[in-house]
Symmetry: C2
């Protein structure tokens, strides 16, 4: 900057805090676009590029990709938790349970980044994990209620919801814009198979710890590695 | 090389063609390891590194990732086509059809690279696509046979097999070694839902062209882009 430019520029420059806030909002909007389009494996560098800021700026706001993911998807996680609450209010427990599965799968289809968020755990994103934990407990109640009516098969396990979301993410990510409703064709027969009486036994569910490790594993691998920090 | 070193080295050096063959075999073995572990999005550079050769060497043998994928998975595609033939030989068409779906999903679980190959089309890998096309035609016969017995629901479509493979790849890729049998818990209820009488209607299948575009889209994106060619 030339000395002469300073007096001209200073009055126009917004206070520093406001700059930071604007950048943060811009980064969250860019994260929504990029993670929604490319999934959680999108790099921090590509989000920074979309936002028109440097990699140093994004890392100042979100030191790890988990922090960005939590900021971008907090409203989706809230909507997801709300959907469980709505389902619990349905006077028909079976309809509530089935409707919830379809609604949650539709949320995945509407946002590919969120499709992966639903099957991934982010231990350091405390607030998001708290909301997810609450939603999970409500889901367990939803399932128990539907079983009590006799319409949901007895061997259905809450972990099956995680697995159908992994399956649905597979369809949604593979088909994308080319066949945006294809996922319904897989979720519908799955839901039909849930109605009692079951047509056959199911193989054992994965152990709780094993599924948790899988949900950790599905996270943005190497998100905070030096390579990702430096570029794309 | 110093002039004095030449007479010592020449007799030990194998003929050039043999070097090339050895490198090719090493690259295919490395491709099997890396694509099996990381899926089709693994970079050519990481395969070259695994093989202990430079990026120039891998590109001399396999100018595009499709070429490497075809070389690595040709035996898997053969095994897959053979599984359809075995299923067609089953005197019980329903058992043949269901057994085939489970066997093909198990092949995906055993090899994550192949999990994606099954739902991806590689237009330039002519021989592999020819085998896949033959397998597809055999599958259509398998499905027709099972419907003719009245045990397979009438609205089942051959494209549903592509979709269940996309769903299964989602589970297999997300759970991996953490929960290696979790996929069975999703495939089993899907298969149960296929038995007639159907418990409800299914949403429309995606159009043939839309699914084809999805299978193109699932391919190794940017596999032959300069970025992938230069590094990881």
């Amino acid at each position: 900057m030339t000395p002469g430019a300073r007096p001209l520029k200073e009055p126009a420059a917004p206070p520093r805090r406001s700059d930071a806030e604007r950048n943060r909002a811009r980064l969250i909007a860019a994260g929504r676009t990029v993670l929604g389009r490319d999934g959680l494996n999108a790099s921090m560098a590509s989000v920074a590029r979309e936002a028109g800021v440097g990699i140093a700026t994004i890392l100042r706001h979100f030191p790890a990709k988990e922090d960005l993911v939590a900021a971008v998807f907090s409203d989706r996680v809230d909507a997801y938790a709300d959907a469980v609450a709505v389902a619990l209010d349905d006077p028909d427990p079976w309809r509530g349970c089935v409707g919830y599965i379809e609604a949650a799968c539709a949320m995945q289809a509407a946002d590919h980044g969120f499709a992966d968020v639903l099957t991934t755990t982010f231990p350091s994103a405390k607030e998001m994990e708290k909301r997810r934990g609450e939603a999970y407990e409500a889901m367990v109640r939803l399932i128990d209620r539907a079983k009590a009516t006799g319409r949901l098969r007895e061997d259905f396990d809450p972990s099956d919801l995680v697995l159908i979301h992994m399956a649905n993410a597979g369809v949604v990510n593979a088909t994308g814009e080319a066949a945006p409703d294809a996922w319904r064709r897989v979720v519908a027969p799955f839901v039909q198979s849930l109605e009692a009486p079951a047509r056959g036994p199911l193989p054992a569910s994965p152990e709780h710890d094993a599924l948790y490790r899988a949900m950790l594993r599905a996270g943005p691998q190497g998100a905070t590695s030096p390579k990702q920090r430096e570029g794309d």
